[in-house]
């Protein structure tokens, strides 16, 4: 086994990621403008599960990715890949929200927030990317067809969901309607409150009984002492 062997896989993955990211940025003018404000800054992203470290530096000519680096980045973001991706879809990108999602941030918190926001607001012009490959006219036709198709799919999906809901709730009666569910939830809530009240009463009663017992035992004790002193 060669102790000095070095795998080039992380380098390869990083190169591909950089290529894709810069290509996407090329067609995302608004994001490019926002990134311009972060020029010269570096962001260390340490993905866990799977473990993959990545340094993203913002340069005048786009993003620069590295899988090995020395020293510290301006901001280090650590967390599971799924949590990071999920966070990019959330509206709240404050440090508290990142912490709640299991993401650790070291360094300039404001910078981290800005970076996550820029990534979240990525506005890639897919038509333009396609246009570079197959020409503007064909790209427009393809994206129009895709857009119409996606709209139709969205509408069909919604209709299917609505019909399925009606069938299962009204016809087969295997699912609750929202009103039935709300009533059930209110009943459960009322039951919970009743149980809480009952528990409180029982506790009060228990306390009352406990307070009375020493009195009884004291009166018994007094009675027995009186018997002792009697001639």
């Amino acid at each position: 086994m060669d102790a000095n062997r070095q795998s080039l896989l992380p380098t390869f993955v990083t190169e591909q990621l950089e290529r894709v990211a810069n290509r996407a940025l090329h067609n995302a003018p608004l994001t490019r403008l926002q990134l311009h404000k972060l020029e010269g800054k570096s962001f260390g992203i340490e993905l866990q599960r799977p473990h993959f470290p990545l340094l993203v530096s913002v340069t005048r000519k786009g993003l620069l990715f590295q899988s090995h680096w020395e020293g510290s980045a301006d901001v280090s973001i650590r967390g599971p890949a799924t949590a990071l991706l999920r966070q990019l879809r959330q509206d709240d990108t404050t440090p508290a929200a990142l912490m709640r999602a299991g993401i650790e941030v070291d360094g300039d918190q404001l910078l981290a927030q800005q970076f996550v926001k820029v990534m979240k607001d990525l506005d890639i012009d897919l038509e333009s990317i396609l246009g570079d490959l197959i020409g503007d006219l064909a790209a427009h036709q393809v994206t129009e067809i895709a857009r119409t198709g996606l709209d139709w799919l969205g509408r069909a999906g919604k209709a299917l969901l609505q019909q399925s809901r009606t069938f299962l709730t009204e016809e087969r009666k295997v699912l609750l309607t929202p009103r039935q569910h709300a009533r059930f939830r209110d009943d459960v809530e009322a039951l919970r409150e009743d149980t809480d009240r009952l528990e409180a009463r029982l506790r009060q009663l228990q306390q009352h009984v406990a307070n009375r017992q020493p009195l009884n035992s004291r009166s018994q004790k007094d009675a027995s002492s009186q018997e002792d002193v009697s001639p």
């Binding site: 000095n4 062997r5 080039l8 380098t11 990083t14 620069l64 590295q66 020395e70």
Partner: protein, 249 residues
Amino acid sequence: MSDDKTTHFGFKTVSTAEKARHVGQVFHSVAQKYDVMNDLMSLGIHRLWKRYTIEMSGARSGQTILDLAGGTGDLTMKFSRIVGETGKVFLADINSSMLNVGRDKLLDHGYASNIEYVQANAESLPFADNTFDCITIAFGLRNVTDKQKALESMTRVLKPGGRLLVLEFSKPVNPTFEKIYDRYSFSLLPFMGKLVANDSESYQYLAESIRMHPDQNTLKHMMRKAGLDRVDYHNLTGGIVALHRGFKY
């Protein structure tokens, strides 16, 4: 340097003056097709080797970097982005044709403001002592006539704390893999050179010069002898290429 001293030019033994002239001719001949041939011969892997070198350089904003024997400027391009406007990258090569191709390519890609071009011999670098934070020499050292002298010259111009990275063809670790690699180098490489660049001799020299280049441990020893500390190396692609790294303290 006296002309009666001899050295290797591929498998031939020639005088030191003759080697410099022959290497010059080889690179004048291949300069225009250098990038295409590199992609073809290494199946594009040379880009990953260079990228790994940059990652190991620890280069950062504001630093001064020397890309020695930088040829067509692949490393300079990336370093220029890393060091930014406050830093500087020197692209140096002994061969004017390679330097011209590199300069044109970098200008075409919009890299200009933080790059200087210097025609220089690695054995006697025209820079003051302690100038650079990092020096890289990628696929250049094996063409240098006096390698030890070149390593000493590089150490001299490195700042204390700076590092030298030598990316160079080396000796494959696995003997079976070495045989396959030998067959590829001596049969296919000159054939491809003939086909694409119409120059099989230069690529025959490339294969021979790789075999004559010091192996991993010899080069490590040479770097230590030149005054570098903490010298280590990483074998890439089974040892076809090795990245040596040393620090000046």
